[in-house]
Amino acid sequence: MSGTTDFWTLAVIVGLACVTVLTRCFFFILDRPWGLPDWAHRALHYAPAAALAGVIAPEIVMSQGHLITTLHDARLYATVVGAAYYYWRRGVLGTMLAGMAVYLPLHLWLGW
């Protein structure tokens, strides 16, 4: 059931919205020109893939903060099939559908 509303939580939510704006606009809030150091320029081309991979890897191979120790986990097969689909046909929707087509039966019927 849903809880009660309190002002502290709403204030934190507004704060999080400000964090969204701050991070998404970080380098173009100010008009002042930014000199790009060489390393930052290089980082641009490795950081986005690294950041997303860092976000999703724990979602795929960990549960409750621990590395999974079993191969009976639907997420592993769904990820492999999804990535294989991506390299075969491209397209985000297809990747997701192919992955979920593997994930849901294994997860719901076999309990993996």
């Binding site: 059931m1 849903s2 809880g3 009660t4 509303t5 204030a11 934190v12 939510i13 507004v14 999080l16 964090v19 969204t20 704006v21 701050l22 991070t23 998404r24 606009c25 970080f26 380098f27 173009f28 809030i29 930014w34 790009l36 930052a40 290089r42 980082a43 081309h45 490795y46 950081a47 986005p48 893939a49 690294a50 950041a51 997303l52 860092g54 976000v55 999703i56 890897a57 724990p58 979602e59 960990m62 903060g65 590395l67 639907a74 997420r75 769904a78 990820t79 999804g82 990535a83 991506y86 397209g91 985000v92 929707l93 990747t95 997701m96 559908l97 992955g99 979920m100 849901l104 997860h107």
Partner: protein
Amino acid sequence: MFLSAAIRRRPEFRAGIRDMSSAALGIGAWGLMTGVAMVKSNMSVLESVAMTLLVYAGSSQLAAIPLLFAGAPAWVILATGFCVNLRFVVFSLHLRPYLMHMPRWRRMTHGYLTADLSYALFTRRYASPPVGPDEQKAQEAYLTGNYFVTWCSWMGMSLLGIALANFIPQNWGLGFAGVLSLVAIVCSMATTPLRMLAALIASVTAVVAYALPLKLNIVVAIGAAVLLCFWLEKQLGLDPDAEDNK
């Protein structure tokens, strides 16, 4: 912003909608589960709706929920949100030359509405910033079309998730659809061997460093991947400009 008719009339706006629409279902499934997760973790409907409409960042919302529930201090929740969103700081550096010709409120509106997928599609279609007013308008229209789809499917499905929260069992694991759409985006970004290596190093580091507080494992993962790949690029004597254009 998609409220401007001058933007909506351009063909690039429709191209942006078309290119993004294949991902709308994945975004929607993720939004649906985020909506369900908020209500299931004891947030009130008002709080959940406010978070959906204002924060508009799935991964930082999901990271904030357990912290809110545990009564963590506000600065810890905000710092976690910032760390989870650090990738957007990098994206904003990349987007800066594309947006700087606009007045501040306009570029901040675009920035706020540009999430992972819009950034990925936009920078893949336009490898370099616009030259001249016509290109500026065309790129702005494409970006707007992209995030118009993202915003609508995320908001619509998150609100639906909040409404249906008590009828959708969380153990169906529909939220994994969101992870799968991010898998596709990582694949689309890992276009060179070194970028694939960056994704691999970051994955391993994020798992090994998982115990760090504040989701700092993601920051450590980015740092390790960037530094190692930067170093390898020098060791291998690769031409940075040629690498940039791949």
